[in-house]
Amino acid sequence: MSSRREVIVASLFARDRASTFGPAVSTLVRGGDFLFVSGLAAVDPDSGERVRGTTASETRQILVNLKQLLEVAGSSLDKVVKVNVLLHSMLEAPNMNDVYARFFREPPPARTVCGARLPDDAKVIIECTALV
């Protein structure tokens, strides 16, 4: 029996949903028991525009959006099992963590954080895997 694969949220950007020219990325995909969420940078969910700020403010915007996305998919932040956080600098890890701790209740998901070169001047990118 094949496992269910379904794109649940094509894009956070209203303009991309109607376009064939947006990036070839689905924001949230179901595969079997899990929901796979693409790496999210900080975007304004209404305008679909990138929001640039501090690592803390971008973390907050990302997690606000993530909460919304998961709820659309019938899941929630409480069902997240694993998070990968990419930072433009590991010096910002505590700032990210302070904001992050306010979104994930007990007990928090597993997480790995590392520093890398991020596209589009993002200070932070967060991807996760959650249970359906």
């Binding site: 029996m1 094949s2 496992s3 694969r5 794109v7 094509a10 990036p23 070839a24 990325v25 689905s26 924001t27 949230l28 995909v29 179901r30 595969g31 079997g32 899990f34 796979f36 969420v37 693409s38 790496g39 990968n84 990419l86 890398a116 070169r117 991020l118 596209p119 990118i125 991807e127 895997t129």
Partner: protein, 135 residues
């Protein structure tokens, strides 16, 4: 408590794409576990010669994703069953070109993706890994 998921290694039908074996590295090209397939990161290896391709990034992305297709099909899966992709580029400036080629491989209902840049080995321009449903 769920029963333990069966776990097995997968191999490409084309042995030139089995870098784990040819380079005697401590990994396998992919693992099937229950309904999922986790592939090791793949680079731009020419499927005819087994050599690394260091041409323009578009060519490297095309070769890497074609090899990924081969790997998944060798295991009875397909690009259409991919749920998550990680694309690592040596150079952030290659994002637009990567995007242009990538969309050829995932034209309909593409998987989730995270793309970023890191230092890559062997002069490779890209390294791509994915998670897919086995069936």
């Amino acid at each position: 408590m769920t029963a333990k998921l069966p776990r097995s290694a997968i191999e490409p039908k084309n042995p030139r794409l089995n870098v784990s074996r040819s380079a005697n590295l401590p990994h396998v090209p992919g693992i099937r576990v229950g309904p999922y397939i986790f592939l090791s990161g793949m680079g731009p290896i020419d499927p005819e010669t087994g050599e690394r391709n260091h041409g323009p990034i578009a060519e490297q992305i095309r070769i890497t994703l074609a090899n990924m297709r081969h790997m998944l099909e060798s295991a009875g899966s397909s690009l259409e069953r991919v749920v998550r992709v990680h694309v690592v580029l040596a150079d952030l400036a290659d994002m637009p070109e990567m995007e242009r080629v990538y969309r050829e491989f995932f034209p309909i209902e593409p998987p989730a993706r995270t793309a970023w840049s890191m230092q890559l080995r062997f002069g490779n321009g890209c390294e791509i890994e994915c998670v897919a449903l086995a069936t």
